[in-house]
C-alpha cells in the first residue's frame, strides 16, 4: 500500500474536454461540490461547499498550486479556513491527464499532510547532514519558493 490515494479511469473523450471538466467551476459543480469558488490559476484561494441531505453546509478551503493545461492540475485543500495551505495542514490533490487510445487516462493522487510545521523543519534542514534529509528539505524549499513567486505574480 502506498502512502497516498491513487485512482485512475479511462475516458472516451479528448484530453481538452476532460481538462475543462476538471478545472472549470461550472463543470466541477456537475460532479463534485454543490458550490465552488475556483479559478484555474496558481495561487488562487477558493472554496468548495458541500450541502449534506440534512444539516449545515460544509465549506472546504482550496488553494490552487499548479495549472499546466491540459495535462496537470494540483491544489491543496482541507486546511483550516483563514490559514495558508501548507504541506503541514492540508492534503495535496493532483490530477494528471494523458492521451490514451484515442481518449484520456485521468489519474488523481491525493497525498496526506505531513503534519510537520514548515519553519521548524526548515531550521532542522540546516542541521541535518543526511542526504535523504537534504533532498527532502530541498524539495520543500523549492515548493515554498514556487508558491512565493506565484503569490508575487498576483
Amino acid at each position: 500500500m502506498s502512502g497516498s490515494i491513487e485512482k485512475s479511469v479511462h475516458i472516451e473523450a479528448p484530453v481538452e474536454l476532460v481538462w475543462r471538466l476538471v478545472t472549470e467551476p461550472e463543470q466541477v459543480v456537475r460532479w463534485f461540490a454543490d458550490e465552488i469558488d475556483l479559478q484555474a490559476r496558481p495561487g488562487h484561494e477558493g472554496s468548495m461547499t458541500f450541502q449534506p441531505e440534512s444539516g449545515a453546509a460544509v465549506h472546504v478551503p482550496i488553494s490552487v498550486e499548479s495549472v499546466e493545461p491540459p495535462r496537470r492540475f494540483t491544489y491543496r485543500w482541507s486546511h483550516p479556513a483563514g490559514t495558508p495551505a501548507s504541506p503541514a495542514n492540508s492534503t495535496l490533490v493532483e490530477f494528471t491527464l494523458t492521451p490514451e487510445d484515442g481518449g484520456t487516462r485521468l489519474r488523481v493522487v491525493e497525498t496526506g499532510h505531513d503534519g510537520l510545521g514548515w519553519p521548524q523543519d526548515q531550521q532542522d534542514a540546516f542541521a541535518d547532514d543526511h542526504n535523504e534529509g537534504w533532498s527532502r528539505h530541498l524539495g520543500r524549499l523549492e515548493a515554498l519558493v514556487t508558491s512565493r513567486s506565484a503569490d508575487a505574480a498576483l
Binding site: M1, S2, G3, S4, I5, K7, S8, V9, H10, I11, E12, A13, P14, L17, V18, L21, V22, Q27, R30, W31, F32, S78, T91, T104, L106, V108, E110, T111, G112, H113, D114, G115, L116, D121, D124, D128, H130, E132, G133, R136
Partner: protein, 111 residues
C-alpha cells in the same frame, strides 16, 4: 488536537510516514533509533513522524528506562485504513462521474 476519522487517513497517507508506520508494524515495538535503521530517514525525522502518528492516536509510546518505545494502535490504524478506503471510494465515484459527463458530451459533439 482531536482528529475525527474523516481526517485520520491524512496523517497516515504521507509516503514518508507510511514507511515509518510500515516498519513499526513489522517490528512490533521499537525505539526511534531502531526504526531509523529500517527507513532512509534520520532518527530526528523518524521522531517527527512518530509525533504526528502519536497525535493522531495511531501509535502509543511507553518509557522503558532511558528509552521510549512505540507500538501501533491496531484499532486506530484500522480506522485510518477504513477512512482512507472511504476517501478512495469517493474519488472513484467522482472519476466515474467525470467519465460519464465527458463521454456524453463527446458523443453529442460528434456528427
Amino acid at each position: 488536537m482531536p482528529m475525527d476519522d474523516e481526517q485520520l487517513w491524512a496523517a497516515v497517507a504521507e509516503p514518508g510516514r507510511r514507511r515509518v508506520l510500515d516498519a513499526l508494524v513489522a517490528l512490533g515495538e521499537a525505539t526511534p533509533t531502531a526504526l531509523a535503521r529500517e527507513v532512509p530517514f534520520t532518527r530526528q525525522a523518524v521522531s517527527k513522524h512518530l509525533a504526528v502518528l502519536l497525535e493522531a492516536g495511531v501509535v502509543s509510546q511507553r518509557r522503558d528506562g532511558r528509552e521510549v518505545r512505540y507500538t501501533v494502535h491496531p484499532d486506530r490504524l484500522e480506522a485510518a485504513a477504513r477512512a482512507m478506503a472511504a476517501a478512495a471510494a469517493r474519488w472513484d465515484a467522482r472519476l466515474q462521474a467525470i467519465k460519464r459527463l465527458a463521454e456524453d458530451e463527446h458523443r453529442s459533439q460528434r456528427p
